[in-house]
């Protein structure tokens, strides 16, 4: 499964519904992620991709769009 599809899977498991945001659509401004759903999203990404996101990377702007998240998890996984 492609990285972006796996990210969408995490997002959909948190929201409990089928979602299809654009790669550059703000997950915050679109209302898909609020502050507390974001914590679940970050934990879900760690589980899905087998990565540990350090505190120094816990900045909301890193997780604002599917494209940013994909770039981040790809870099962490490598």
């Amino acid at each position: 499964m492609e990285t972006e599809a796996r990210i969408l899977k995490v997002l959909q498991s948190i929201k409990g519904t089928t979602l299809n945001p654009g790669a550059d659509e703000s997950l915050f401004e679109s209302g898909l992620l609020d502050s507390f759903a974001l914590t679940d999203f970050v934990s879900g990404l760690e589980g899905e991709f087998g990565i540990t996101i350090p505190d120094s990377d816990l900045s909301a702007r890193k997780f604002d769009t599917i494209r940013k998240v994909a770039a981040y998890v790809t870099a962490k996984a490598s």
Partner: protein, 309 residues
């Protein structure tokens, strides 16, 4: 050794409900409750100061302790919203208590300030005698009650809390504490040009990891499990955050004392106000450990463990 001898608090009488605030910030009252757990908060009167609120909390604490101000060896006052940087409110709190020689020091730290104060007092009490820790805030003057300031205006309120830390006796002994600072994330929460500036999502991301971790590390090195703890007294930042901390620790939420619905987030004052209300409701001798924890601007965070005396 150092002991928790008594708590005290003061809340200004003016209540600002979500229904009153919501039209100013362009929000729905139910949304404010949903995202924060807050129904109302208190606002100081125009002639109140951070120090005047602090004095009233200090007097309440001393009265509950059966102590006089003249017994104090030191006063520590935490505040992120003081009207004047130097000298800060500590000297005015001391003066308000009638003291003219007792050292009174400021801790210019917002939400984590009273936890820092308790931790320092635990070390200092043996040297200087009883230490009065005060957290006092008028955050209503640091928010922007417009749609642009919605994210902070809905959260913050005013109030003061106090705790007397005694080197000889009290209802619980301070067993251990941990404090941490990460200035690389200072930009996510700050008071700048007299206004709170907050990247709320990043604050929550940081806090929901750091608070449970600090508590777990503190408990672990003291051979206490999270289930052993009788009550968790946290900085009342946001109800949803406190729930996340409980989940992170795998502790039932009813172990957490929560009063944010009626006081809002009073920053450095909130943990001591919560402690005072918890103690008033549970005046019997303490049998199970007590955990304090806070997180806030700096970023600063930590936890403190107290056990039955």
């Amino acid at each position: 050794m150092a002991f928790l001898r008594a708590f005290g608090s003061y809340l200004p009488p003016r209540r600002v409900t979500n229904e009153e605030l919501a039209p100013l910030v362009g929000a729905d009252p139910a949304w404010i409750l949903q995202v924060s757990g807050i129904q109302e908060r208190r606002y100081a009167a125009n002639d109140d100061t951070v120090a005047s609120l602090g004095v009233l909390a200090a007097q309440d604490c001393l009265k509950k302790a059966g102590a006089s101000a003249q017994e104090l060896g030191m006063i520590l006052v935490a505040s992120g919203s003081s009207e004047r940087f130097c000298p800060g409110p500590a000297v005015e709190v001391a003066a308000g208590l009638g003291l003219t020689a007792t050292p009174a020091l400021d801790i210019p730290v917002a939400s984590c300030g009273s936890l820092i104060g308790l931790s320092l007092a635990a070390q200092l009490a043996a040297k200087v005698g009883p230490v009065l820790v005060v957290g006092a805030e008028i955050m209503s003057r640091r928010v922007d009650r417009t749609p642009e300031g919605k994210d902070t205006a809905i959260l913050f309120g005013d109030g003061a809390g106090a705790c007397l830390v005694d080197p000889h006796s009290g209802f619980a002994r301070i067993a251990d504490w941990t404090l941490s600072t990460d200035g690389t994330a200072a930009g996510i929460l700050k008071i700048e040009r007299e206004r709170i500036v907050m990247d709320g999502k990043s604050v929550i991301l940081q806090a929901y990891r750091k608070m449970p971790r600090a508590i777990s590390e503190l408990l672990g090195r003291n051979s206490v499990t999270s289930a052993d703890v009788g009550v968790y007294l946290l900085h009342q930042a946001n109800l949803n955050l406190i729930e996340r901390v409980a989940t992170g620790l795998k502790v039932p939420f009813d172990r957490f004392f929560v009063n944010i619905a009626h006081h809002g987030n009073t920053s450095s004052a909130s943990m001591l106000i919560a402690a005072n209300e918890w103690r008033a409701a549970h005046p019997k001798p303490v049998s199970a450990p007590i955990v304090f924890s806070a997180f806030g601007a700096g970023i600063q965070w930590g936890a403190l463990l107290a056990v039955g005396a």
